[in-house]
Amino acid sequence: MGNMTQFPDRSKVAPDAERLKDYTWPEDPHHVPEWIYTDEYIAELEQQRIFQGRTWNYAGLEVEVPEVGSFIRSYLGSMPIIVVRDEEGVIRAFENRCAHRGAEFCRSYRGKAESFTCPYHQWNYGLDGSLQSVPFRRGVKGKGGMPKDFDMGANSLRRLNVTTRNGAIFVSAHDDMEPFEDYLGPQMLEQFDTAMDGRPLRLLGVHRNILEGNWKLYQENLKDTYHATLLHTYLTTFGLFVASNETFVITDEAGRHSATCNRRPEGRPENDETTAEIGSFHSAMQLEDPSVLNIVKESDSPWTSNALTIWPNMILIRQTNIFSARQIVPMGPDKFMLIWASYGYADDDEAMQEHRLKQNNIFGPGGFIGIDDNEVIKFVSDGALRGSERDGVIPLGKDDEPDDTVITDRALRGMYAWYRKEMGL
């Protein structure tokens, strides 16, 4: 029969109308109110209406749970979950919380198990999260024990809806979600398949990282293509991303997902007119070991980088020969965790794997450009937490202009239009 215990549908719980009156979204569509980065009630509402709402949430890679019983700790929004491969090879996900006293019982980053046992009273669950056994169910010497009508079936771990695409795992609190392909839409799906093309993956490793800021700042950061050529001096200095490169910023129809694709020219951007406006550009610099940035051709894609934001919690990146999937885990209004999985393909030879490992110096919490983003998100967060009240502005570009410029905030405006709908703000 398996695990039938559903996750409670909190998305239909109406928000506290009285409390919501305190929040007025600015009329100017170029303005973003700062309370969305700092407010406890807004953060709580986001869990309910977005993460536990009608969304597909990235939860890990299939290659992280390669065999029967392989599991990882993951999250749906802020809620700890377990993702595991069951006896049939099917990927399952359920809340990491015992049905008895509510303990968050799975404490390992990853592992392999035949079943899950909460250490408190040894309630035991199968790989699909169904309750298998309860010690002293009949009591001792005819005394104590569980009530006669105790329903094992109703006391399983709360299961989540699971889907996969080309090796990525997505979960939802809702069973009646549209297929992931429809959730993304055709344009985004094409981008997705470029960054994860369906060949078997090889996991290179996982960074875990706590950032000081609201989780939406990370979505913004990836949708804000304006900053890419200004903050990230490494990208411009070594020619990975320059404002005049051929670039598209695409969003889905709803505006919630986005992709930036970019084609980097061969060689360095010495004669690029846009570098004159970038105060941080270092034209004299050459890498001591330039092989690190080599493009090893491995697909027919015309692009050298694709950066996707998939609502609400996934960043999927292909940059030269780096592939990474980042999971955003909110931790209250002013903190979030990133779980960055970096991968190659199973058919990579040793040289290709080494190349990917070297190139991965660009990303992560110690990465040449990863550091820039993590630091600046804290700067924005400190401003919102400690400064006097003022809205952020996202005025660059027009919503109806062609999508081949990076000097635009269009994707941010799209995301906040969608956010307001989901949140009822």
Partner: protein, 175 residues
């Protein structure tokens, strides 16, 4: 790269004579003190000079290493990459100003084969940002192979394995 490859599975005291262990331990401790001083002073351009020409530096999360996953937080293979890392920190990366202090302890010589000295130590890095209390950036262990030339040591390989798996914000200077 995994822990078993870096060190023998059973840890025992090196069979080198005690005087030799004392001398080598002192050399490693002095090396580590200088290494810490240079990094804590922000002299990142001098950092590649602690390595041999083919020196390797890896900064690995302990959980990844234990799972046999090779991804590093920082990875430099050879002087070129070490210098490129130093250059990026000095010239292209954007980060808030900070002070750091390394504490390197529990230094132990594992063995000497030819002129290759293996050693391990523990490290803690405290970091202080402007107008913020001091916090722990990383706790970890160094797994080192040095090239020994008389009394001079250079790192052939330093693998810094950190317990602080959930990295707070960012690690700018190499531990």
């Amino acid at each position: 790269m995994n822990i078993a490859e870096m060190e023998p599975p059973v840890s025992v005291i090196s069979t080198l004579p005690v005087d030799e262990r004392l001398r080598l331990t002192f050399l490693v401790e002095e090396f580590n003190s200088l290494y810490a001083e240079v990094l804590d002073a922000g002299r990142i351009a001098d950092w590649p000079d602690f390595f041999t020409e083919d020196g390797v530096y890896r900064l690995l999360a302990r959980d990844n290493a234990e799972a046999g996953l090779p991804l590093s937080l920082m990875y430099c293979n050879g002087r070129g990459m070490l210098k490129d890392r130093a250059y990026a920190i000095e010239n292209t990366e954007m980060f808030g100003p900070r002070y750091s202090k390394h504490q390197v302890t529990n230094t132990r010589i594992l063995g000497l084969e030819g002129n290759i000295l293996s050693a391990r130590s523990n490290y803690v890095i405290f970091e202080t940002h402007v107008d913020e209390p001091t916090r722990i950036l990383q706790v970890g262990s160094y797994h080192d192979r040095f090239a020994l030339d008389g009394e001079t040591l250079l790192l052939k390989e330093r693998c810094a394995l950190y317990d602080t798996v959930c990295v707070p914000v960012s690690v700018v200077f190499p531990p």
